[in-house]
């Protein structure tokens, strides 16, 4: 019998396929395509203390095998989220991960505390490139990653996932800081800071100038970061960045991910998470592998320098 379940830092998933924050709304939208209970878990759209209207359009640009987005954390705020969006999941038996962004460490803590009773895990977004305050700033300095994780961990009743920014010289420094501060799990990568110029109008394409790159284009970078991180930390890793097929997912798991998450691929293939899930299953069946973790390349088999 194949056991697809994984435990990522106390959060038990029936399978390792998650969907990524910001690419899956509050779950409703994709429920028209398949039964959400099939998913390992759902990371909902990033939320903040106060409602945010988000950035001025255009908010998306297609790049070579990728997209740049500049949504700017549009969201109804934590209260509306709890009142209007969370109840939807009452009908489902699928873990919900709340992705939170704060302007200050205090904001992060308050939100984590408030959500602790109603969601299955908290994902700290210390890495959104699309907002001026907070966001990415927290994710590019290891002291800040440490501080915010430590503070939130104290008041967070659910497993705490820290989502790392790829916009750093050394991802393992950030990962180690999160681990040391008590994170139960790490997720990576968030989008990479990119840009596009509107040459017809001779100006940056996005009002916010820079935007976040995601999609297949970034996968080699994401995979490298997951590998590097897996060599250094003991806590579980959720790998993401450009996954669109089950083979991509297997690469991430081999590289050291305990679970994987589908983001941008949802946009062009709404069935991507299900396709990936089925693919992993048949891969395991074919290879006679009965536990997800056995897919991994043994840590230290060849140590990464």
């Amino acid at each position: 019998m194949i056991d697809m379940s994984v435990d990522i830092g106390g959060l038990k998933l029936k399978n390792p396929v998650l969907v990524s924050s910001g690419t899956f709304g509050f779950g409703r939208e994709y429920s028209d395509f398949y039964d959400l209970n099939l998913l390992g878990g759902i990371a909902v759209k990033g939320i903040t203390m106060k409602p945010r209207k988000g950035n001025k359009p255009p908010r998306i640009a297609e790049t070579a095998a990728g997209i740049l987005n500049s949504v700017g954390l549009e969201n109804p705020g934590i209260n509306n989220f709890i009142e209007q969006e969370l109840p939807f999941f009452k009908n489902y038996d699928v873990p919900v991960i709340a992705n939170i962004s704060g302007n200050t460490i205090e904001e992060y803590s308050i939100m984590a505390k408030e959500l602790g009773n109603s969601v299955d895990a908290i994902e700290l977004n210390v890495s959104c490139p699309n907002v001026k305050e907070g966001g990415i700033a927290f994710g590019t300095k290891s002291e800040l990653v440490y501080k915010v994780t430590k503070a939130v961990k104290k008041c967070c009743k659910t497993p705490l996932i820290v989502k790392l920014s790829p916009n750093v010289t050394d991802i393992t420094e950030m990962a180690l800081a999160a681990e040391k501060a008590g994170a139960d799990c790490i997720s990576l990568i968030n989008t990479i800071v990119g840009m596009k110029i509107d040459i017809e109008n001779k100006r940056p394409y996005f009002d916010n100038i820079v935007a976040g790159l995601s999609g297949p284009a970034v996968m080699p970078i994401a995979l490298r970061m997951v590998w590097q991180t897996a060599q250094k930390v003991k806590i579980p890793i959720i790998g993401m960045g450009g996954i669109s097929t089950w083979r991509d997912a297997i690469e991430f798991i081999m590289a050291g991910a305990d679970a994987i998450s589908i983001g941008t691929a949802n946009f062009y293939n709404p069935y991507a998470p299900i396709d990936v899930l089925r693919g992993i299953e048949s891969y395991m069946r074919e290879k006679g592998i009965n536990k997800i973790e056995k897919i991994k390349i043994n840590k230290g088999a060849k140590n990464y320098e």
Partner: protein, 280 residues
């Protein structure tokens, strides 16, 4: 709403860089209403990456045919041109909210009207949009005429105002359904010289409802014209899209009611003019 692998029945040029594609669908067509759109995946695995939103121009529920009218402008639409009858195409839809149609004399069965009605889910109180057999004008510019054809078929001989840069297309198809038909080109090569909004402005007091699709500048002028004259106005909007179903929040357009954004893909693409604003 679903993804369907459809078969291309026909794909031919109707004007410079403008093509008509007929697609056979087993399910999408039966759920579609005028003004909705489909989200199409073409090309290789990653190039282009995103789907392309295209309005449903016509549907034939008996044959199971959807017709699209598209203008070639970039990577995706160039690939559309290269598809041939018999090829298959990955289509998601029908998406978004279409045009509210409330005429008594419909060419379509009653049920599709009902569904259009409930699907609207406007923020405005329902009474405001529950009119019957109103005097209606339809205004379209360029490729923006695409979603209007099915609409016109559903209306009771609306006055139709179309504008093109120079070359016209689909003129017979539209005029067939028109009460009065107004045709404009920027250079006056065909029809009158100028913009259809000029004619609509003269006649605006004849109408109770105006439907519009076309360039932003045309939509913005139509909105102002209608609102200044207390005419109900529905606009079909465009914005770059990701998911097409309300999950990614990239297709933002300014709300007129508050300082927030609406999602073109699910709150629209058709909006009551009072729901949206243009100023920027």
């Amino acid at each position: 709403m679903r993804c369907e692998i459809c078969t291309i029945v026909d794909n031919y040029r109707v004007a410079t860089d403008t093509y008509k594609m007929v697609i056979e669908s087993k399910s999408i067509v039966f759920e579609a209403s005028a003004g909705q759109f489909v989200h199409i995946r073409v090309g290789g695995e990653y190039d282009p990456l995103l789907r392309r939103p295209i309005s449903i121009c016509e549907f034939d529920k008996e044959k199971g045919y959807l017709t699209l009218l598209y203008r070639v402008c970039g990577k995706g639409t160039k690939l559309f041109v290269n598809t041939r009858p018999g090829d298959s195409l990955d289509i998601m839809g029908p998406l978004g909210k279409g045009f509210p149609v409330f005429n008594t004399e419909l060419t379509r069965p009653k049920s599709s009207m009902d569904s259009a009605n409930t699907q609207r889910g406007l923020n405005l109180p329902l009474s405001e949009v529950s009119f019957n057999d109103k005097k209606v004008a339809v205004i379209g510019g360029g490729i923006g005429i695409a979603p209007l054809l099915e609409l016109c078929k559903n209306l009771n001989k609306p006055d139709i105002y179309l504008g093109f840069r120079d070359e016209t297309y689909m003129v017979d198809e539209f005029s067939e359904h028109a009460g009065t038909f107004y045709l404009y080109t920027e250079d006056g090569k065909e029809g009158c010289k100028g913009y259809p909004i000029e004619a609509l402005a003269k006649n605006i007091n004849n109408y109770e409802v105006v439907y519009a699709c076309g360039p932003k500048i045309m939509l913005s002028k139509t909105k102002n014209l209608c609102e200044a004259n207390s005419v109900e106005c529905y606009l079909s909007m465009e914005e770059k899209m990701g998911c097409g179903i309300g999950a990614c929040l990239v297709c933002a357009c300014k709300s007129a009611q508050d300082d927030l954004y609406k999602k073109v893909c699910v709150d629209g693409p058709v909006f009551n003019s009072k729901e949206v604003k243009f100023n920027d």
